[in-house]
Assembly symmetry: C2
Homo-oligomer: 202 residues x 2
């Protein structure tokens, strides 16, 4: 009588907001959710498997994929390229499953242009003070880099109005529960279902 369609969920937000942690916890809590495997030109790290963490490609192969419009979004980061391959996402949606993409704000913009019906979730820190603490506690970057990243984050937060949902990453458990609820709710959306009521009456 009612059937589900496939669904694309994008989790994005400023760098350092903890979206990676949230998505890992969400996958652990929800095995039915499918993960979007990115293509990258960086070298595999010990323990990483082709097609699991990433699809590993040469820079030439990556450029060829860009040219052939094979990415939903891509970006260069620290000299390496990362991209979301269209074929993987489309095959999951064709199976009417839910696929989750964890990407940065620029990537989310590119995906939204191609999949306006996706579910776009913006993760925010409880406050910029918290974000500042998190970036500093990593201890990996000098002060001027941290200040530049905070200024960027403040600017990035203005993108919130392009998103459907906003989730504060205060406590991980609470935030993961909200992400789960958003996905369950979106699966109940009338616009995401097909109906056939005819010929059912007995």
């Amino acid at each position: 009588m009612i059937s589900n369609e496939g669904m694309l969920v994008v989790v994005s937000g400023p760098a350092g907001v903890g979206k990676g942690t949230l998505c890992r916890a969400l996958f652990a809590a929800w095995p039915g959710l499918e993960y979007s495997v990115s293509v990258t030109t960086r070298n595999p790290r010990p323990g990483e498997t082709e097609g699991k963490e990433y699809y590993f490609r040469t820079r030439e192969e990556f450029m060829e994929m860009i040219k052939n419009n094979e990415f939903l979004e891509w970006a260069e980061f620290c000299g390496n390229y990362y991209g979301t391959p269209r074929f993987h996402v489309e095959s999951v949606l064709a199976r009417k499953k839910t696929i989750l993409l964890e990407i940065d704000i620029q990537g989310a913009k590119q995906v939204k242009a191609k999949y306006p019906d996706g579910v776009f979730i913006f993760i925010v820190p409880p406050s910029l003070a918290t974000l500042s603490q998190r970036l500093r506690s990593r201890g990996t970057e000098p002060e001027d880099v941290i200040e530049r990243r905070l200024a960027t984050a403040l600017k990035e937060l203005e993108n919130i109005y392009d998103y459907d949902y906003v989730v504060e990453n205060d406590e991980v458990d609470v935030a993961v529960e909200k992400l789960k609820s958003i996905i369950i709710a979106e699966k109940c959306r009338v616009k995401r279902k097909s109906f056939s009521f005819k010929g059912e009456i007995k």
Copy 2:
């Protein structure tokens, strides 16, 4: 940094679909949710308290309230009048809380005209065969009445496209979990929040 607005949630669906059972279970699981207390002209039953189950009014008082546009929706059922008083709903929303209305499809239409930003949830039976069984198992109505109600239900299901969400009432626990998720998710909607990011950077 982020604050919530009040929210109006309407749970509706064909008669006999079990929306009353679902809403009672939802309230039991979620004490923070506020219940819309209806006004009625019927007599109080033993144990019913003014302002808790219903506001009890005379027919004259009810007519006066209709004239003064004091209802979000009202209807006549078996010779008695029932209505959702605007003052109660508005006072809950002003306190930025979530209020739940369990009403029939005609009532939901009236509320939607006044609160298009409300969350509208349609409860459906897993199939019309199930609805037919449920109506018959009550054993309170003759066969021709049941058949008329089933025909009405089939017609009412076409209203689904006026709603945001559809929840199948197959297992009560699963359906209540979906209702909870919808409310949690809607509270995360960007359009239901106000933001202030300025002056936060440290």
